[in-house]
Amino acid sequence: MLWRDLADSSWQSLIRTRNRSLLTMFGIVVGIAAVILSLSIGEAAQSFILSQISSFGSDKLIIHPGPKTQTENPSPFVEESLVMKDIKRLKKESAWMPMVSGEMMQSDMIVGEGVSKNISLLGTLPDEILIGGYDMLQGNFITDSDVESHTRSVVLGYSLADEIFGQASPLGQSVKVGSNTYRVIGVMDKAGTQFFQNLDELAYIPATTMIDLYGKKSFEYLIAKTNLPLDESARRIEDIMREQHDIDNPTGDLAKDDFFVMTQADAIKTVSQVTSVLQILLSSIAAISLLVGGIGIMNIMFVSVTERVSEIGLRKAIGARYKDVLRQFLTEATILTIVGGIAGIILGSLLAFIAIQVINYYQPGWVFTVSWVGALLGVAVSSIIGLTFGYLPARKAAKLSPIEALRAE
């Protein structure tokens, strides 16, 4: 039997029973679309997270409180170990570590010009803007003297300033955060989302002021910029911090420290672990929907064999061999799954595109890409499903004895 005849004959059979063919295909379309959708979103999530981490830069270190536990994950018990004194000590190493900053966060209500809003308040130091590489739109960032004198000065993020003051200049104006009044000394330029935080919605105050007003004892983490290789810098920082905190740790056992130093590479490693778990989870859900689609195909193929017994008998009576009938049914199943697979890839990509537009609305920075791995996997898996789930019914059809088949009128 020629391949052209086979394809032609299978196609005509599918057309003859077009409603059933479409319904069967629908199962596969949904299955493949689910795979593409979840893989695309998974990939977009991964690249979003990695881009956020990359924005952090490769010449920076983060010092976290608490020891590094054995599983290489940060301790859930945050120790209040990183204090102003540590920053002052680290600042002395300006020869190889020109910038050091720290961050502490507090949610509070900001009120100004009749606008009130819940915001994140960031207690920080002058080097913060240099490390981040951000620009000022107006005025100045927090200065050393603000930190020294615990001034009630605030720097507003771009959108926050816009929301409260609109076109008017906020410089020198007063805003209330919680029960305290601050003077606006500067407005940041647009900085977008970095490290999962929309910087344009933040307000910055001197860390010392936050310690006074909110009873904070320590920083959530310190950031430093270095001009030495990261490994070398990390080792030096560890030595200094152990000395500062009176930790006797000559072997460098990280579990004994009350802090740990993390680089961009460490962060990527941790995040990759999380995102691959996410990918596995999404893929398994998708795999189940594919399986359901496959079982649907098998069901329909079995029904189709039963319905077409006399046709099979006729085909055998006019010269079809076992393998001709087998191939015809397998081809039908494969056409169904491949056409369904392609439709599923298109539908899945479309849904992923829409989903990412929606996510982007809430968290800018997500980029839509067609998951080629998903598309390839989808086509491969759907044809394999067609062949495997189509095989049993096809074999049943091919094995029918011609007279029994002809009698089944």
């Binding site: 039997m1 020629l2 005509q12 006729l314 009576a317 006019i318 010269g319 001709d324």
Partner: protein, 239 residues
Amino acid sequence: MDVIKIEKLTKQYENDEVVTPVLFGLDFTIPAGQFIAIMGPSGSGKSTLMHILGFLDTLTEGRYLFEDQDVSKLDDDVLARMRGEKVGFIFQAFNLLPKTTVFDNVMLPLLYSDVPLAKRRDMAMEAIESVGLAHRANNLSNQLSGGERQRVAIARALIRKPPVIFADEPTGNLDSKSGAQVMQILQRLNIDKGHTIVLVTHETYTAEHAERVLRLKDGLIQSDEPVKHRCLATGELIK
């Protein structure tokens, strides 16, 4: 020359250790070009005999020579090829593909042949013309009357010009006029084109279109004699 030669043909069905004998040691031959009718009441084994002769079923004991070739020694693929090349079937229920044109129905056997694509349409048209349905070639099978459907089935059986055509109660589902048309076509295929025709029927009138009637009863040959007053359908194809 004998196209079909049967020696001590025995057939029994075995089902769950119950053995049902159907045919008991038949002996006969069919010369090439003969029109033979096999008659008998239901249960006489006439359909089983036709299925064996048409390579659709296998015999239990004895020998079956088709064109001097021992059929019982052939494997499934060769039998399938012989079903395609050597014989054509016409069934009581027509067995056309639904929602498919007359043309495609008639061409169906060529799917399982080596006939090049270019020649297929001509072969199909020739077969369709020979049953007088050229004007219906592009109609769907479900748009045809019963008689027309059976003529399509005849065209399908003819397309590969097999030496033998088997017709299993071909007029069973037809009114008398359509039945007469079908019998006329079969007779012409026999007389004009020289096809050997094996007709299975239980109607004496239909059987009288043949040259010879073989009667079966309970799996044995009851009688085997020529038709004395053969019914000849002459003249133009009955419209």
